[in-house]
């Protein structure tokens, strides 16, 4: 550990805290339909596309209609992506002449991208054409991120609405999220990354003789444009198999710092947007504070844990930092911070191999995801996930003091609690059930790479990450086998892992989203009660503590037994397996 490592972590959080109200206020103005600086540039395009998709006078949608539009849009997007992946060989921008991916891997990949997961059973540079990366992976980085933002805005409106059942119009929100938020930030971000050394070209891979006389094939592609949007939109699907570890994606320490900021910026900003829409900025800061403290706690464990040698290094007589699976241009603090940021958020783009993290260090990313992706979380999904936890915390508090729970002056009743419970329990159930299924069958065991408890950890991580739409991995876990040359020649999928994982991603994305929209629909227009003597305030430090406790306890009760079998065992023993 170094002072500069800690300083960098603190600096990140200071900058993030500064950016949050600025970007959050901007997003608020955009979705309120107010004029912003960019209106002049993208206004005409916005009006035309909105009219095309939502009609000349877009009507407000109730939660069911809003959800219906999301599901239909996602279904068509899924289909388009699946077709792109399966017909790669006949498309343009395929300088390497790659064939199409196997059907089961394509199923997993299409599900991964439309669910904003970015789980990669494929290695992009060796299996995907530039067209599939641009028109497939990157487009859905935008689309799924925008769906997340739009759905969060709709949920917030439902929480805030004093009257009426309308949550907004999905198509209008989708276009605004894309044109005013994701696209401009992606343009700025990708140009910055190119300046730092990320590549951006459509040329074919270059073959040459190395200095020592060997041969090397430089895999090239439109990397920066895709990197920017997969970070901002929290899909996190890297251009290369190793994602941000690849210097062409994450070339320098400065680039790495900015990339982490790009991952966290929008999910953090949405807390400020929330505070503004509900008319009490402190409500937003309370959520932000919970996220910040939990984030800091995770970083404070992961960084020291990775600054120690792993048991395997000790056994070989080597001391110092756990550098297995990490690149030298990044500090261990960079790698630990990246792992925390990528998993606390829904992004999943890490710059180091989590599979090689120490037992304790590797348990942090897993635990982050197990909180249900609410520590910043995915763009939009983090916020509505957090709001579900807020309702739960309010309910618990209400039970403790024997009062009818209320939030923002609205009564929380049986219907909301049922929906919240569904939203909070569905994903952990999927994770545990699928992990158990995979670990107890021959088909599931095929994907495991490491021996001993790490093999279990890989499986648990795979389903945790997929069902929570994170996308990071203990990447030894296999869902795609490519024995020979690149370009999908002779490749096959591990059907069990591909299909169960794909299903987990889709259900894990849309069930909580629908639950959140339904809660919002139920709260929308509910009569508000004026705050009185006995009202529990939800914009205070005490409530923030209660909320953190609720999140931690729900995650702990659900997952500690399974964490014991994997990462905890490894953290406690010097034994090798």
């Amino acid at each position: 550990m170094t002072a500069s490592g800690w300083f960098q972590i603190v600096l990140l959080l200071v900058v993030l805290t500064g950016v949050t109200p600025l970007l959050g206020g901007y997003i608020h103005r955009v979705f309120a339909g107010e004029r912003v600086l960019l209106t002049r540039v993208v206004g005409p395009l916005e009006r035309r596309t909105s009219a095309l998709l939502a009609g000349p006078k877009p009507a407000g949608q109730d939660w069911k209609a809003y959800a219906g539009s999301i599901l239909m849009f996602t279904a068509i997007g899924w289909l388009a992506l699946f077709v792109i992946l399966r017909t790669q060989s006949i498309q343009p921008f395929n300088p390497q002449g790659y064939r199409s991916a196997p059907w089961d891997v394509s199923f997993n990949t299409a599900s991964s991208l439309v669910s904003n997961t970015g789980w990669q059973f494929y290695a992009g540079e060796a299996t995907l054409s530039n067209f599939a990366q641009m028109a497939g992976i990157a487009v859905h980085g935008f689309a799924s991120g925008a769906v997340g933002i739009a759905s969060a805005i709709a949920v917030i409106r439902g929480f805030a609405n004093r009257s009426g059942k309308e949550l907004g119009n999905f198509w209008v929100d989708l276009i605004r999220a894309l044109l005013y938020v994701l696209l401009p930030l992606a343009i700025a971000g990708s140009l910055f990354l190119v300046g730092e050394g990320a590549i951006q070209t459509l040329a074919a891979n270059v073959h040459f003789r190395t200095l020592a006389g060997g041969s090397q094939l430089l895999a090239l592609g439109p990397v920066a444009s895709q990197k920017a949007v997969t970070l901002l939109g929290s899909s996190g699907a890297g251009f290369y198999g190793v994602n941000s570890a690849m210097p062409f994606e994450d070339p320098t320490g400065v680039a790495n710092f900015v990339e982490i900021l790009m991952i966290l910026a929008i999910p953090a900003a949405l807390t400020a947007t929330y505070g503004r829409i509900v008319g009490n900025r402190r409500q937003g800061w309370a959520l932000y504070g919970v996220m910040l403290v939990m984030f800091l706690g995770a970083a404070a464990v992961a960084y020291p844990a990775e600054s120690r040698p792993s048991p395997a290094m000790r056994a070989a007589g080597i001391h110092g930092l756990n550098m297995e699976g990490k690149d030298q241009r990044l500090q261990v603090s960079d790698s630990a911070l990246s792992a925390v940021a990528a998993t606390a958020s829904g992004d999943g783009a890490t710059n180091a191999a989590l599979d090689s993290f120490t037992g304790l260090g590797g348990s942090i990313p897993m635990a982050n995801i197990m909180t249900g992706e609410v520590i910043f979380g995915g763009v939009g999904s983090g916020l509505y996930g957090m709001l579900l936890m807020v309702v739960l915390a309010v309910f618990v508090a209400g039970l403790m003091v024997g009062r009818t729970p209320e939030y923002l002056g609205k009564r929380i009743e049986a219907r909301e609690i049922k929906l919240v419970t569904i939203g909070a329990i569905a994903v952990p159930l999927i994770v545990l059930f699928m992990t158990a299924w995979a670990i107890s069958t021959r088909y599931g065991m095929r994907s495991i790479f490491n021996a001993g408890p790490q093999g279990f950890s890989e499986t648990l991580y795979a389903y945790t990450s997929q069902a929570n739409n994170n996308g990071s991995a203990f990447a030894g876990y296999v869902g795609f086998v490519q024995p020979h040359a690149p370009g999908n020649a002779g490749a096959s999928g591990v059907t069990f892992a591909d299909l169960t994982g794909g299903a987990a991603m889709l259900v894990g994305r849309f069930l909580p989203m629908l639950a959140a929209l339904a809660v919002a629909g139920s709260l929308s227009g509910k009569r508000t009660i004026a705050a009185g003597e006995g009202t529990m305030r939800t914009d205070t430090v005490i409530f923030a503590v209660l909320l953190s406790a609720t999140i931690s306890i729900v995650a702990l009760l659900t997952f500690v037994p399974s964490l014991m079998l994997g990462p905890v065992v490894q953290a406690l023993t010097p034994r090798l397996f």
Binding site: A123, V206, A212, I318, R329
Partner: protein, 195 residues
């Protein structure tokens, strides 16, 4: 329902054209004009011939006159990137590290007799995350300098100076540790050797 279907199909087409083609092609155009060196992979030529990318490590194993890159799970293949993904308690990882320690000592000890296993920096015997790590640590470079200087018949001080010149670590290591770019250093060595 039909209306939503129509909007969905239109939206997917629109997004594919605008964000899947126009956006990346425009960024490619701008990047190629503003930063052609970076956009094409920070390539370096020598005598008019491409010899590598400054961001991509190369395999120098068996070449004693060169500084050696970090171990790689892929023999430094940028077209098939991978880490070892071996777990922290992996017996296979332990035996791989042991083998790397042995080969590191075999290579460096003749030129640096005081070298013991405990002095070997972690980055020299662990596989990188990308498989194509272009950098090594200062400590790693300082050990290798003895061998490189001896094999090339160059003064150690000159080799150490070249290391210092090819060291980066912005703001005293605030953003990324102080590390040494192996390809740039080896190219500089070749140039110094010739003159």
């Amino acid at each position: 329902m039909l209306r939503q279907l129509r909007s969905s199909v239109l939206a997917v087409i629109l997004l594919t054209v605008l964000l899947g083609l126009a956006y990346p092609l425009a960024i490619t155009g701008v990047a190629q004009v503003l930063w052609p060196h970076q956009a094409n992979g920070s390539r370096v030529d020598r005598d008019g011939r491409l010899v590598g990318s400054l961001l991509i490590g190369q395999d120098f194993r068996g070449e004693e006159r060169y500084f050696q890159s970090r171990p790689s799970a892929t023999a430094d293949d940028p077209a098939d990137t991978a880490a070892s993904n071996l777990g922290p308690n992996s017996a296979r990882l332990a035996s791989e590290i042991r083998a790397r320690v042995q080969s590191f000592l075999r290579r460096e000890q003749p030129y640096d007799p005081g070298l013991t296993p405990a002095m070997i920096p972690a980055d020299a015997v662990t596989a990188s995350g990308s498989g194509v790590d272009p950098d090594i640590s200062m400590a790693n470079a300082a050990i290798q300098a003895h061998r490189v200087a001896a094999v090339r018949g160059l003064p150690l001080a000159l080799v150490m100076r070249l290391i210092a010149e090819h060291t980066d670590g912005l703001a005293g290591g605030l953003f990324g540790p102080v590390s040494v770019n192996v390809l740039a250093l080896n190219l500089a060595l070749d140039a110094a050797h010739k003159s």
